[in-house]
C-alpha cells in the first residue's frame, strides 16, 4: 500500500474537473470494496483518490418513474436489494444483488462501483510473481496454461481469460439497461452491454469509459418481463462466492409458448454476456426441459474450454436451462 491523497469533491463537476487535472494515478472511489482490496495487494497504487460516494443525488433510487427504474451510481447494493417493490417486479435484479459478495460488502459497495469490479483471477491479484497482461501489459498470461478452473470460457483471448466477476451487471444486461456518464466532454449514455470490453490484445482496458468519465446512474427500461425473471447463480458455496456459472433470464409468454426471452450469462465470460441467439431461438417455442436445454446450448455455443474449466460449459448450459424453468414459474 502506498500513500495517496484523499479528497471529497462537492459536485460531479468538481469530481470530473479534478480527475481531468490529475494523471493516471487519480481514481474515483465509492464503496471501496474493490479498490482498497487491490491497493492492499499492491495491484492498484493510485496517488489520488476522489471520493464520489456522497455527491448530491448520487445515491437516489427511483422506481416510480413510469418508463424506467433509475439507480443512482452511489446507492449501496443493499439499498437497491431492499427497495420496496423491486423484488416483486424485478426478482432477477434483487437476486443478483442478494447473491453477490457478503452482507457486509453489500452494505459498503455501490451500484456504480460494482459494475467496475475487477476480476478475481488469482494471477492478476497475486502480484509480480505471476505473469498478467491485465496488471502488467506484455508480461503474458499465467492463467492460459495454469489453474483456470474459474476462468472464462467465453470472450477470452490469447492475452487474457479473466472472468468478469460481477452479478449485478449481468442482470442489468438482460434488461437492456443503460448507464449515464459524465465527463469533461459532457454527458453521454452507454448501453450496459457496451460498457465492458472483451480483453482482445489490451486486457488492461476493461471498459469503454474515458478516464475522466463518472457513472452517475443506471437506468433500466421498465418491462413486464421483469416479473418472470430470475438470477440463478451456481457457486462453490451457498454464500460469499463468485459464480461458477450464472444466468439472468426473463420471460414473456403466450400461454406455453415463449413470446420474448432475455438471457445473460455471468461467471463464464470476460464481460457480462448477453445470449441473443439463444433468446431468438426460444421465441415461439413451447418452454420445457428440452427447449430450455437447447437455449442453454445456444447460449454457450462457441465456448472454449481450457485445462480445468471445461465442466463450466456444461454447467452453464444447465444453469441457463434451470433459470428458464424457474422464471417460467413466475409468469
Amino acid at each position: 500500500m502506498h500513500p495517496f491523497t484523499y479528497t471529497k469533491p462537492r459536485t460531479a463537476q468538481d469530481a470530473i474537473r479534478a480527475i481531468a487535472a490529475g494523471d493516471a494515478g487519480t481514481r474515483f472511489i465509492a464503496g471501496g470494496t474493490t479498490l482498497y482490496d487491490l491497493m492492499k495487494l499492491d495491484v492498484e497504487a493510485p496517488r489520488q483518490i476522489l471520493d464520489v460516494s456522497t455527491l448530491p443525488g448520487i445515491a437516489t433510487i427511483d422506481t416510480a418513474n413510469p418508463r424506467e427504474l433509475v439507480f443512482g451510481a452511489g446507492a449501496k447494493m443493499v439499498a437497491a436489494a431492499t427497495h420496496a417493490g423491486l423484488r416483486a417486479d424485478y426478482p432477477a435484479l434483487v437476486e443478483a444483488l442478494d447473491k453477490a459478495a457478503s452482507q457486509q460488502l453489500r452494505n459498503m459497495a455501490s451500484l456504480g462501483g460494482n459494475l467496475l469490479q475487477r476480476t478475481r483471477c488469482n494471477y492478476f491479484r497475486g502480484g509480480a510473481a505471476y505473469a498478467c497482461n491485465k496488471r502488467s501489459p506484455g508480461s503474458g498470461c499465467a492463467a492460459l496454461n495454469g489453474l483456470d478452473r474459474g476462468h472464462a470460457v467465453l470472450g477470452g483471448s490469447d492475452s487474457c481469460i479473466a472472468v468478469y466477476p460481477g452479478d449485478w451487471a449481468v442482470a442489468l444486461a438482460a434488461f437492456d439497461a443503460v448507464v449515464d456518464v459524465q465527463g469533461t466532454a459532457g454527458p453521454r449514455t452507454i448501453p450496459l452491454a457496451q460498457l465492458h470490453r472483451e480483453p482482445g490484445s489490451t486486457p488492461e482496458t476493461e471498459t469503454s469509459l474515458a478516464r475522466d468519465e463518472l457513472i452517475l446512474r443506471i437506468r433500466v427500461p421498465k418491462t413486464p418481463l421483469g416479473r418472470a425473471s430470475t438470477y440463478h447463480k451456481i457457486r462453490d458455496r451457498e454464500s460469499y462466492a463468485f459464480a461458477l456459472a450464472s444466468a439472468a433470464v426473463a420471460l414473456r409468454m403466450d400461454g406455453t409458448r415463449v413470446r420474448e426471452a432475455r438471457i445473460a450469462l455471468g461467471g463464464l465470460a470476460t464481460r457480462p454476456w448477453r445470449a441473443s441467439v439463444a433468446e431468438q431461438g426460444l421465441v415461439g417455442q413451447v418452454l420445457n426441459a428440452a427447449t430450455a436445454r437447447a437455449a442453454g446450448e445456444a447460449a454457450l455455443r462457441g465456448a472454449r474450454a481450457g485445462h480445468h474449466n471445461g465442466f463450466r460449459i456444461e454447467l452453464g448450459i444447465r444453469t441457463v436451462a434451470d433459470a428458464l424453468l424457474i422464471a417460467q414459474e413466475r409468469v
Binding site: M1, H2, P3, K40, L41, D42, R120, N122, Y123, R125, G126, G127, A128, A129, Y130, A142, N145, G146, L147, R149, I234, D236, R237, E238, S239, Y240, A241, F242, L244, A245, F311, E314, L315, R318, T319, A321, D322
Partner: protein, 733 residues
C-alpha cells in the same frame, strides 16, 4: 471416577466473545509500540543474490529493516518433531537460501503499519532460481520410506499385525482403491501475531499460541538467553487447530527487532502470507486394500500412504495408527511414505492423520458393504472389537457400537433404501444417506496445577493448558466449582501464561483430559488441606468459611500429575517446553475416543450442487465435563469435515510453487449458509482407566469420519464413488 454427569451451562466467556471484548494478541496496543510486517519470496526455490532495502530504509517512519544479513547469528530452535521447538527447522531470515515460495525475506519495522507495508513493497530482490517440485508424483529421490527414515521408532514404525498380504490375497471379497486430498490450511480467524516487549533484559511475548512453554524455550534458545528471562502470555487463542502448536517464524523476528529498537514491536502475519508462514495439512494419497469373507468379516487390510513433507524436515505420517484400530481386523499392514516438496514443512491440522485415514478407510468399508450387499451400519457392528487389534491389549473403553446404534436410531437409518440413487425428495433432489465411524487417540500430558482459595469465597487456579475457543476455561470452572462448591464466576483461571505453571503444548485432544483431572486433583488436595486447618470441624463448611474460621486469608496447594505409566522424567520435558504426552498406547491398555456420523446429502439433479441438510453425530469421549462447549466442539468438527470434504483446497500451480488462492474469498471455507442441522449426542460414560475423571478427548475425533460419511452419502445419492477431496460440482457432472 466421576459417576455423575455435568450440567449444561453456558461458556463462561460467551458474553465477552460475542461483544468483541475478548482481547487477542493482534488487538494489543501499548505506548510507543512499533509495527512490523514481512516481505516474502516470490520464487519457488533458490537463493537471494541481492536484496536492496535502501528505498525501504529511506522512507520516513521506517525504524528498522532486517534481512538475513542481520539475523544470520540466530541460533536454531529445532523442529518440533526432531526434538526442538519450531513449526519447522527453517527459521526465515537466517540465510539467503529460499526453500519455498512465500518464505519471508525481510522484516520492516515502522512507526505505523501503513508505512511498514509501503516500505516492504519497496524492497527489491534478485534471485538465483532453482527448480522446485510440489506434488506427490515426485522423483524417486524425493520419496522417503518412513520405516527406513531417521524418525524415531517405535513411535513412527509402520503398523504390521498378522499377515495382511497373504490373507488379503485369499479373501473372497476384495476392495482396492486409492483416496486423496488436496492441501488444506487451518485458517483460524486470528492471524499469527506477536507483540514483543523488553524490559530490563527480560522479554515478554504476547502471542496466541497453543504452546506458550515451547515458544518461550524456543525463542530463548534462538536469542541465546536463559528461558527464565522470557515470558510468553497466551490467555486466548483465536482458533488454533494445530497451526499455533509451536514456535512460529515471526516470533523471534519481533523479539529481535524490539530489542534492537528499545520499543515494543507488533508483527501480524497477513492472511495472504499465512498460507506460507505456518504449517498446513499435507496432501496425501491412500491406497486401501480391504479383504473380507462373504459373510462380511473383515479379514485383512493394507493401508499405504504417501504424505507430503518439506525438503528440510520429515513431518511424519501416522495414518495407520487409527485406520488399524477402527475395526477388529486381525491382519493389517501399513506403509507410510513421505514425499519431499519445496514448501514450508506441513504439520498438524485438526485430526491431522485421522481425518484422511478415516476418509480413506471408511470409504473403503462403504465400498465393501456395497460389494457384499450389506448395510454399512450392520457391517461395522459385525466387525466391532473390545481388544486393540494392533497390540492385543484391552481397550480402556470403546462404545463405538453404541454410537452407531444410537446414531442410526436418531437419524432414522432404518428408513434408508439400500440402492444408490433410490431416494429422492418431492423436488427431484437426490437424497443420499451415509455413515462413517471415526476414532482418535486418547492421550494425556503431564501437568502441574496450583490452587489458591481465599476467605472471600474466590479461588485462583493455575494449570498448564491453553484456551483456544474449545472451552477449556468453562470445563475447568465446571469441574472446580463442583469440587469446591465455589461458583464458576468466582474462580479465576490463570492459564496460557509461562509465569503461572508450566504450559505444556495443548494439542492432540489431550487438553481436557490433561488439565481437568489435574485441577480436580488440586481441588482434592485443597479439600484435604482445608480439613487439616479445622480438624473434625470442616464438614459442611465452604472453603471460605473454613479459612475464616481458621483465621487464614488464603490457602495454597500444588500438585503434579502425569499419564498412567509415565516416568518422572516427563516433568523435566514439561518444564523445558517439550512435548511429553502418552497415548494411545499405555502400559496396560490402549485408549481411543470414538464417533459415528450419519449424514444426509441432497444433490441437485441438474447443476449438481451438494447440500448437507442434516448430520447426526454420536461421540464416545468418556465423561463430558462441559456439555455445552463439548457439543459446540462436535458441531465445529462436523463443519470442518464438511469443509474438508466439499470445499477446501489450497491451489498449487506447480510452475510457481506456493499456494495460489491465499485469501478467504478464494480459499473456500464453508459459510453459515452451507450448514444445516447438526445433532450431537454423547455416550457420556466415564472411561475407567485413562484418568480419574474418565475423560478421553473430543476436539479432533469430532471431525474424524465426517468426510467419509459425506462421500458415502454422495455415493448413495448418485451411485458415483468419489475418492478425491474436496468433492465439487465438476465431479458429479
Amino acid at each position: 471416577m466421576t459417576t455423575n454427569t455435568f450440567p449444561d451451562v453456558a461458556r463462561i466467556d460467551a458474553h465477552d466473545k460475542v461483544r468483541g471484548a475478548t482481547r487477542y494478541a493482534s488487538d494489543d496496543s501499548r505506548p510507543g509500540m512499533l509495527h512490523a510486517t514481512l516481505a516474502c519470496a516470490t520464487i519457488g526455490r533458490g537463493s537471494i543474490q541481492s536484496i536492496d532495502t535502501s528505498a525501504a530504509r529511506a522512507l520516513r517512519g521506517v525504524r528498522l529493516v532486517l534481512t538475513h544479513a542481520e539475523l544470520s547469528r540466530l541460533q536454531p530452535a529445532g523442529f518440533l518433531l526432531a526434538g526442538g521447538y519450531g513449526v519447522q527447522s527453517l527459521q526465515p531470515l537466517t540465510s539467503p537460501n529460499i526453500a519455498y515460495f512465500g518464505q519471508p525475506i525481510a522484516l520492516v519495522v515502522a512507526e505505523t503499519l501503513e508505512v511498514a507495508l509501503q516500505a516492504a513493497a519497496l524492497i527489491r530482490t534478485a534471485y538465483a532460481v532453482e527448480p522446485h517440485q510440489m506434488g506427490l508424483d515426485a522423483p524417486e529421490a524425493d520419496i522417503v520410506a518412513q520405516q527406513e527414515s531417521p524418525l524415531p521408532k517405535p513411535m513412527f514404525e509402520d503398523v504390521h499385525v498378522g499377515d495382511a498380504d497373504a490373507v488379503f490375497a485369499q479373501a473372497a471379497v476384495q476392495i482396492d482403491a486409492t483416496y486423496a486430498s488436496a492441501v488444506q490450511h487451518h485458517n483460524p480467524m486470528e492471524l499469527l501475531a506477536t507483540v514483543a516487549e523488553w524490559s530490563e533484559g527480560r522479554l515478554t511475548i504476547h502471542e496466541g499460541t497453543q504452546n506458550a512453554e515451547g515458544v518461550r524455550h524456543g525463542v530463548a534458545r534462538q536469542l541465546g538467553i536463559p528461558a527464565e528471562q522470557v515470558r510468553v502470555i497466551s490467555p486466548q487463542v483465536g482458533g488454533g487447530f494445530g497451526q499455533k502448536n509451536s514456535l512460529q517464524g515471526q516470533t523471534v523476528l519481533a523479539a529481535f527487532a524490539a530489542r534492537a529498537l528499545g520499543h515494543s514491536v507488533k508483527l501480524v502475519v497477513r492472511r495472504s502470507q499465512l498460507f506460507h508462514a505456518s504449517s498446513f495439512r499435507a496432501a496425501t494419497r491412500h491406497r486401501i486394500r480391504l479383504g473380507a469373507d462373504h459373510g462380511g468379516t473383515m479379514l485383512a487390510a493394507i493401508h499405504e500412504t504417501d504424505a507430503q513433507t518439506s525438503r528440510h524436515d520429515l513431518f511424519p505420517s501416522v495414518n495407520a495408527e487409527v485406520s488399524a484400530r477402527l475395526h477388529g481386523i486381525a491382519n493389517f499392514r501399513a506403509r507410510e511414505r513421505l514425499v519431499r516438496t519445496d514448501t514450508q514443512t506441513p504439520g498438524y491440522m485438526r485430526a491431522p492423520f485421522e481425518h484422511m485415514a478415516c476418509f480413506a478407510f471408511e470409504s473403503a468399508v462403504d465400498e465393501l458393504a456395497q460389494a457384499l450387499g450389506q448395510d454399512p451400519v450392520a457391517l461395522r457392528l459385525a466387525n466391532d472389537t473390545q481388544r486393540d487389534p494392533v497390540t492385543g491389549k484391552p481397550l480402556s473403553s470403546r462404545h463405538l457400537a453404541e454410537c452407531l446404534r444410537r446414531g442410526a436410531a436418531r437419524f432414522g437409518w432404518a428408513r434408508r433404501s439400500m440402492a444408490p440413487g433410490s431416494m429422492q425428495d418431492a423436488e427431484g433432489q437426490l437424497i443420499g444417506w451415509g455413515v462413517a465411524a471415526g476414532a482418535y487417540k486418547a492421550a494425556t500430558a503431564p501437568a502441574v496445577a496450583r490452587l489458591r482459595v481465599y476467605d472471600d469465597g474466590t479461588a485462583l487456579a493455575s494449570v498448564g493448558v491453553h484456551e483456544m475457543g474449545q472451552g477449556i476455561r468453562t470445563a475447568l470452572a465446571a469441574a472446580l466449582s463442583r469440587k469446591l462448591g465455589i461458583e464458576p464466576d468466582q474462580i479465576t483461571l490463570d492459564i496460557g501464561d509461562t509465569n503461572s505453571t508450566p504450559q505444556h503444548i495443548t494439542v492432540g485432544s489431550w487438553g481436557t483430559a490433561t488439565a481437568v483431572p489435574a485441577a480436580v486433583e488440586a481441588a482434592d488436595a485443597m479439600l484435604s488441606a482445608l480439613a487439616e486447618l479445622l480438624p473434625g470441624d470442616a464438614a459442611g463448611r465452604s472453603p471460605a468459611e473454613i479459612l475464616r474460621a481458621a483465621g487464614r486469608r488464603s490457602l495454597d496447594v500444588a500438585i503434579r500429575r502425569k499419564a498412567p505409566g509415565q516416568p518422572d522424567a516427563v516433568f523435566t520435558r514439561l518444564a523445558t517446553g517439550l512435548p511429553a504426552p502418552l497415548g494411545p498406547n499405555y502400559p496396560d491398555f490402549v485408549s481411543f475416543s470414538y464417533i459415528a456420523h450419519f449424514v444426509e446429502v441432497r444433490v441437485e439433479p441438474t447443476t449438481r450442487r451438494i447440500r448437507v441438510p442434516r448430520v447426526v453425530s454420536v461421540a464416545d469421549c468418556g465423561r463430558v465435563i462441559s456439555p455445552r462447549t463439548a457439543a459446540s466442539q462436535v458441531r465445529g468438527g462436523v463443519v470442518w469435515g464438511i469443509g474438508a470434504a466439499l470445499r477446501e483446497a489450497s491451489e498449487v500451480d506447480p510452475r510457481y510453487g506456493g499456494f495460489l488462492n491465499a485469501d478467504l474469498a478464494d480459499y473456500v471455507l464453508p459459510v453459515n449458509a452451507d450448514i444445516g442441522d447438526i445433532e450431537v449426542e454423547f455416550i457420556d460414560r466415564a472411561d475407567p482407566l485413562v484418568n480419574a475423571m474418565g475423560i478421553k478427548g473430543l476436539g479432533e475425533v469430532a471431525m474424524v469420519g465426517v468426510a467419509a460419511a459425506i462421500a458415502n452419502a454422495v455415493h448413495h445419492a448418485t451411485g458415483i464413488r468419489l475418492r478425491d477431496l474436496p468433492i465439487r460440482i465438476e465431479h458429479l457432472m
